[in-house]
Amino acid sequence: MYVEDLKKDFYEFLAGKRVFLVVHYDIDSICACKILQSLLRYKHVSYSLAVVRGLEDLKTAYHENCADVKYYILLNCGGTLDVIEELEADEDVTFFILDSHRPTDLCNIYSNGQVKLLSLPDEDVGVPHFHDIFREESDEEEEDENDSEGSGSEDRASKRRRLDEESIMKRRERRLWEENRDKLVFDYSQFTYYARASAIRLFELAWQLNKEDKDLLWLAIVALTEQMLFGKIENTQYTLEIGPLQAHANRLQNMTNDTDVLTSLKIAFEKDLRLALYRHWSVEDSLKYSMFTAVKMKLWSLRGDKKLHELLADMGFPLIQSRQAFKSMDLQLRKEFHEVLEKLSEKYGLQDLVYASFTLQYGYRNKYCAADIVYALLAILEASPRDKKPEELFNLALDCLSRSKKEVLDSAIERAKIIVKTLFKTAQSALDLKQIITAGPFVYYIIQEGCLDWYMFSHLQILLLLAHFILRAYVAVSRNRKAPSLPLVVSAPKSMDAGTCIILGIPPLCENSPKNFFGKAFEQAAERINCDSKCDYFDTSYFEIHTKDRTRFFDALTALLS
């Protein structure tokens, strides 16, 4: 069931209770978690916190603590599955779920109170009606069964005949109902997609409670930016969400009277460029490695390289300057950068280079755009040394978001550059070596075990970014007219020891929508070839199988989608 009044039935309800927070390992969750923590503190709600990466982690976290804690808040996890069933939860346990993964499991939506959804009902699209899905076994039927079991009555035969007719009718009706239900459920759960970021929902709660501030707003902004950068939501949705956040930014800015540069914090609504990390990089590198410019100008080729230099020349940026760190470039050039590039964007086919975003400014020297922070968090969560545990990285990511730990942020940004570069180089070599293969209804790309950077791509979000990059690059160079209408499947090694790999599918470019049908397709393909599969991820467009089954799996998928 949905919680209608978050303030009364969630926030105030929790006062004085012990709560367990289960947080999914992603950027939106971290932002949401930070907002929630600050809210819980006002009420002195004592909590413990666990980080989960998949269903198994969720089960472990629940079973380790279910004896001691009765209230669970699940952030970005658990919404898409029947938690009561999956966790074998006791009756006295209550789950509050705020999950941006869709579709939400129908059992959660129609739960009688043990599962409480914190999202808005209209974020779940096309939810079937209760009676179309759940059918109360009528008393009659039960009697029916009792009767047929109890033998020995006199006019059994005649009664049975009568009953037979009745039950045939009933069974028929029931079959029809079941068919209808299966269809409804299939339609409902056919696509996996994302609803609005959980952090935004919690920020709104904070606002409702009059406990919002710029720090919390910034978290909501970062979460939204992540969804946009990783292609999890449509552009229109991004535009829709950004309006209210801009209003909040203005309002909060006007409310403060802190003018001291050293301590004040300023969130500005600004046009930004789709160039990764350029404020902390050099102009040339950022232009070259960012997906947007790389794909539009085909920068992986020699010709692309030349074009890039032409662009720089057109802009009036000497090579020496554009290879310098942005911060140490001539002030004049730095000021002009935006404008000049915007002017030239049409000439170089870079329309849409500019998008609306926010920057955060504090102290004299610290200015970050929301995307910078997203990249930094990504680097911490998914590109840290292998010996770090997810909990440590989660803690580090929280540190990265607190302004007092600038060194954490800066080193994360350095690592983020490596990610961006690696994405570019991987896409480049995929094209050079013609590794992007058409399989009829889809194209696929496999990162082989021997690949230098395979470990980096065994992480969900980086793999997603790579998939976007590869698909766009493929469409840009492909002579196949159908290319924009083909989806892409990528696969990367997951664990060398276990011999498993991840499969990720993304929808075709022409659909212009992140709605993803691969979850169901993967499931069916795996069923067809009867292979061992694991669906531990909350986002079902990811799948995990044994590497040895991959060829058969792809065959089955081809057959299925043809």
């Binding site: 503190r41 002195h44 666990a50 380790e64 001691d68």
Partner: protein
């Protein structure tokens, strides 16, 4: 030169201002031996002093020199032990009455005995304050807030709070708890306070 070994003993303290190295029994023994030798030589010379006076100066000077060396050695010896006890005292406040095994193995038997006595005296003092005693090992900083956020740094296992609720402390898990519940665990390094 006399007192070199004793000096080495003190140097050991100086080099480990905040940790307790293993009790250096052999060096202590050597210093004791030097003291014994010096004292015995002095006693011998004191008995035969009259004979030497004439030709090569007074043996009194020799005795004075040796006596200075004895005093120096004693001072070093005692300083070594005294400063170890001071450190041990600090440990009682920081680790509690039960020391980690690896620290305990660094102590001499006499030090272990002293520690037990000190612990006992301190405990009975704390019990005697007020009507029902006062634990002086907590409330080390003026409180700022009732609840604090902590990060668990070790796999501690299940831990029961004062109000009877139990929570599982796993490495790197985060908790938001009443400060009074956390303080001792923070002191012992189980928790890390996050501001």
């Amino acid at each position: 030169m006399y007192g070199e070994k004793a000096y080495a003993l003190v140097k050991e303290c100086a080099n480990h201002e905040n940790s307790l190295p293993p009790y250096n029994a052999s060096l202590v023994q050597e210093v004791s031996n030097e003291i014994r030798t010096l004292v015995e030589e002095n006693q011998e010379d004191a008995q035969t002093s009259t004979e030497e006076t004439s030709d090569s100066g007074s043996v009194v000077s020799t005795i004075r020199l040796r006596h200075a060396a004895v005093k120096r050695n004693l001072r070093c010896l005692m300083a070594y032990h005294y400063n170890r006890l001071r450190l041990l005292r600090k440990m009682r406040w920081e680790f509690g009455s039960i020391l980690p095994a690896d620290i305990k193995s660094n102590l001499s038997p006499a030090e272990i005995e002293w520690f037990a006595k000190y612990s006992r005296s301190l405990a009975s003092y704390m019990r005697s304050v007020g009507d029902d005693g006062l634990n002086l090992a907590v409330d080390l900083k003026p409180p700022k807030s009732l609840y604090i956020e902590v990060k668990c740094t070790v796999d501690y296992g299940r831990y029961e709070l004062n109000d009877g609720t139990v929570l599982l402390l796993k490495k790197d898990s985060r908790h938001y708890l009443p400060r009074s519940e956390c303080e001792e665990l923070v002191r012992q390094g189980v928790f890390e306070h996050i501001l």
